[in-house]
Symmetry: D2
Subunit: 427 residues, 4 copies
């Protein structure tokens, strides 16, 4: 299925007058504060969030999975789905593949399909947390950190193969989430696990093309429930320091211990020049993988406040980082969930761009805590939806992506094409 | 010090045009959604938040306390401070006394002072978590739950005395936060502690005037770090069930274990007709007692969504519940902090009033999770500041209470009157 | 496969002398403290822990499942496995079935098989957290709490059917873990969900035989990550109060928010006469379902301290409660894991039986916190393994169940019989 | 007050026979496992835990402080108290001073007093989390990280002064716990705070004598409740890396987010050669500062398992690290609490020394998780109290330090000497 330009245009025409009224009013209000709304809209237009290939299907928990229908049955259909998203919001212009779930057997045709939908290929992801059919050695007790050199080698080789696939598609980064760890005290030797992992990562690092990066992700726990080899940003940074300049730390919002101050971690990693990017989601209890912004929108805003400041300090644009959605769509239509996710990200980014940095630094300099809080809250309490809508409109997307998705009955159409009981690969 | 009406009027005049422009625009926008802005403004006007007497001084932690200046030195000055707040926002029309910090030795003159400032007396609070000078028996190992009947009796008597003070002032409720518990496994017998506490509470309950309520507050931990007698809403409700219809559960936002779903607790307590009211604050780690709305504003909104629904279901207005701020102002001017607090509460209330209940129930009925989330987020993302400002303006308060507080240099004035090194009683 | 009595005897003979030496020494030591070791051994012998049918296979997480081999392929083989355990430790004398994973199509032969292995049938468990093949209505959005009456009815009918199966087998209780809840704010109406659930539970309750109980389990979160209908002991108790005397609260150690004081909850429930029993496991982060005692053995001991006291107060024996293991064996042989679990439970029980209750109450009465702690620690620090071994020996089990399991190469034998790639039903 | 050698001897004589019986039996049992009990006893004898000067008084919470009696009124009496402890357990041979609470105005006499009690001076601690009387600039908004250079300088100077005091006493390390951070989002600029702190630490580092170390402690939160400059081990390590080889990371057990795997952090820091030492305490909720070993003794054991392995790997003895108790004695006699603390530490150390490292590594190499767990549990379940008692006996201490403390009525004696209402400096 494809959404045509005229469909988007018709949709926008019907909403334009109301939207424009709101946008003009907001623009004036911001103007009085010395903020140029158009500049912000431009920055929003430039912000692109990658969609992971596995997020296009219904997710589940260890207790079960309730699939929806019309899920993509292969890589081509996944790319098609991302194409639909990008047509609607013009902010989802890349896809992040997970190997071996999405082996692009025919790179050329895949690239051509993606290009036709205005999509590029973001970081490629390896997977050594599951055993694949016909896999020689099991990852039950680890992969890159395994006590058995042969298992480590198999896992290293897999990562190198993933790089190979990525090169063919034009990716520029390998993203590694290592689930290795232990479930019980005594099970693993922390130091040996670290050293084994380092050795494995060094072999992978050596296979990286010159213009590539490797992203080292951390996670506090799960699927291992006692220890995880790369358990926090400190561990991740330590590995990156030992690996070299092409290794950066990847932050996933759900991968922290309760109450962690993630925005401070982000600031520190940017200070060190070691932030690779983000996996967006939200959570209340653990790595719940809920829609980003659905539980703690103010925290998301605070993270963007740091990102905006860090980018400015480093003189970098938002395209210098890898932004990806990493959530599990258990009870929502995956495509609608992804549209909500991108919207929430852009709203937070817009709010962060509203923050008056000079005033904020002055308030800090005077320890005027009340004012500093007020400056952030003023930005957060501003209704920035017109800015995000305007950015979508200007870049050719829909003013109300979910509304259009529903009006066009995209899901039923996909069900007709693909069937009601398809189950996409993934979690 | 007193803020005069003409000062508020001048302030409002200078801001009115800008405010009115925003209010009119929002009113139109809401009107298109079928929402009557004036109705909401009226409900905001009716919402009154009590100020606890001890919150007028700078708070601290066990590691120290950095006092500000101009803090109230006695009950009269505390009432005067609340009067200042109420003059500014017209939403802080009552004061909640803590005995023995604020013994109203001359009830009549205190009532007369309060009346002159348009203030009433909210729930009175007992304190058996500290020893007072010349106190016969120590609360080091508990009070209402103590193993020694004599200590329990002393604590019961104190509560009954607090009721007596409250009666003189026109209060209608006794609020009990019982910090009793244990610091080490083995220290206390859980069942005996419960039974002792129940017996003590029953004696206090028997001394309650007919038209009074007793509020039973719970807290997960602190100052006891192993167990707390009334540790959660389930314990609190159990006590209230055993006590009778005049006992209700008081919820303090900071008194929960990490990640608790407080809004669900609120809904359950309202369903049971057992919610007494709220102690507002915010927190990231424990009972941090930060400014309400400063950390998790979306959670505050979700709680108000339940409160609004519960009030409607019960056919009750917001005046049927006890709302109080219970935060610790460690790094902010206490009065400014309280103004920020009231504003945050009213903003959340306003957002909750925007929620389209019919649409929401329909979405729920169809398990349209995407739409249900969107309905809540639409309300939350609306910039409702003009509604809150309008409600303050209409009730005679300031459009920008903190702005006016600063313009009038209230704090320096208070310092001049009271001195730079005053330390109010409290934490 | 069957383990023969002579094999156990040979094993015990080889270890007896060493064991007896240790037991005699401990017996003397305890005797000096006024404790009769033989009495404790007798209470240990009487303690029976149910094995849930699904725990006999390798568990997994949402990220994957690494099956072992020789897992039971049907109900008969599951019973056979529990028989092996019981032969080894004589403390696992019952099995708890999960419907529809283990539908006993031919009750008589199943009962006969169980009897031959000296096993009985514990509480039967319903399952409405997954959809079964050919199920008419989906539980994707809930079961007993569902907004659609038809779905609720289907779930109620399933529970009534489970009772029917249980009756045939001689069970005396229905155990309900209701995973219903919501993943996003707004998704569900808390009060309606509660009321729907109550109505459903009342229908099930009405179908309970006179001599049956229904166990109402609670869980803080997962698989729903925003709210859970029966989220904590307070909710569970509220349901039980409304249902009637045959409804009790079931506690699963992993189903709490971080840092919850579970032993206090246990004490409170026993005080109210509402504790149904326990699901044993251990955890560090969430509902990790690790081997009981592997992470927080002191907490397990503290819980048993309350259980022992509560049983004494109520004049009940350990057979008045339902004890079950509820863990997920992801990286261990399930049978070995269950043997470790039962051992850990018995060790904690033994330690709790050592506590000098009179001294403890005296210390409490005098607020001698140091001594109270010491009394508990003295019990906990005592090496009670000889007591547990003696209890197993006397009841006909093995002195070292895991040692014998390994010596007899039980798992390879099972693999030979059943195959290397079997996957038992369950999580 | 002084405890005389003959008093210890009499006490030991009365308990020796029973103790020796237990020790001999355990020695035999261990011998059968190839463990030399005497070797372990020797290592226990060598283990010395520093006592912080402020821990000799009753602690409190922000809600109050219930002092005991007979608390030390000055530095000399604090040293005297540590002398009492050391006489009793011979494992508390050093004292750690906190400046400005314990300014040693006359170094020589203080040293002489300490020597006479066989005590040395451990790391000295600075304090910039409180304002002192007559202090020029306030630390309300930070110290080493403050936005104002003048405040930073004052805090740096204070630390340099602390070094000066330490040099006079023979200390070899400065221990810095920096409480700086922020209470509200927006309040501080994370990067500038880090840079300011780094600059301050560099100035302090420059003032370190050649043979000194600086310990950089981290803490997740409190007294700041939104962010802390040195919030976790990763931050601490980053500072140490930038400072140089004389800077190491200090771990306080209570300074972590919920559920943190502290033993893994310890292993990683030892791997990096960056572990300074430990502040021992225990906690259930936050930085509860309870008696070490009173809540999570198994975790304490697991930490010692890593410490023992790390020391062996590095070829270092326990004297190469700084061990200190850092708890708050709110409801216990401080001296008794410290005796319980040292005992718990030694018990954990003893258990960790029992672990069969070769077997453990073999089990790990074979991913025999069941066996690995069993090896640790075997050590933990062993009753090692006779080993600790023997070590105390051999080094001249008491077999039952708390028993002797009570028999000699030390506290009443101290009350007689010092008064019933003394309040020691500290928290």
């Amino acid at each position: 299925m494809k959404i045509e330009k005229y469909q988007v245009d018709q949709h926008n025409d019907s909403l334009f007058s109301k939207h424009n009224n709101q946008f003009i009013f907001l623009k004036e209000q911001l103007g009085e504060q010395g903020i140029n709304a158009n500049d912000i809209v431009k920055q929003l237009e430039a912000f692109q969030v990658a969609i992971p290939s596995w997020a296009l299907g219904t997710g589940g928990t260890r207790f079960g999975r309730f699939s929806g229908g019309g899920e993509p049955r292969n890589l081509e259909e996944k790319i098609e789905d991302v194409g639909l998203l990008h047509t609607l919001n013009r902010s989802s212009g890349s896809i992040s593949l997970h190997i071996p779930w999405d082996i692009p057997s025919q790179a050329e045709s895949v690239i051509s399909l993606a290009s036709s939908l205005d999509l590029t290929f973001d970081a490629v992801n390896s997977n050594t947390f599951q055993d694949q059919k016909d896999q020689e050695l099991s990852y039950k007790f680890g992969s890159l950190s395994h006590v058995d050199k042969a298992v480590r080698k198999q896992a290293v080789d897999h990562n190198i193969e993933v790089i190979k696939y990525g090169k063919e598609l034009g990716s520029k980064a390998l993203s590694i989430w290592l689930s290795d760890g232990s479930c019980f005290p005594g099970q693993s030797n922390f130091v040996k696990s670290f050293q084994n992992t380092l050795e494995s990562l060094q072999e992978i690092y050596a296979a990286l093309p010159d213009d590539w990066k490797v992203f080292v992700e951390y996670k506090a726990y799960e699927p291992n429930f006692y220890s995880t080899v790369i358990q926090d940003w400190g561990s991740s940074l330590l590995f990156c320091q030992k690996l070299g300049a092409k290794a950066d730390v990847l932050v996933d919002l759900g991968h922290h211990l309760p109450n962690a101050n993630i925005e401070q971690i982000v600031a520190t990693l940017m200070m060190e020049g070691r932030l690779a990017g983000f996996h967006f989601n939200d959570s209340k209890y653990g790595d719940d993988d809920l829609t980003v912004g659905s539980i703690r929108p103010y925290m998301l805003f605070l993270i963007f406040v740091e990102l905006v400041e860090g980018m400015k300090r480093a003189g970098k644009g938002s395209d210098a980082f890898a932004w990806m959605i990493d959530a599990s769509h258990n009870v929502k239509d995956p495509l609608e969930d992804l549209l909500q996710s991108v919207e929430a990200i852009l709203l937070s980014y817009a709010q962060a761009l509203l923050v008056d940095r000079n005033k904020l630094e002055q308030a800090r300099q005077q320890n005027d805590v009340v004012l500093a809080q007020q400056i952030l809250q003023n930005a957060f309490r501003t209704d920035v939806r017109p800015l995000v809508r305007e950015s979508m409109r200007l870049s050719g997307g829909a003013l109300d992506p979910i509304g259009l998705f529903r009006n066009l009955q995209v899901r039923s159409e996909l069900m007709n094409e693909r069937g009601r009981v398809t189950v996409a690969t993934g979690l």
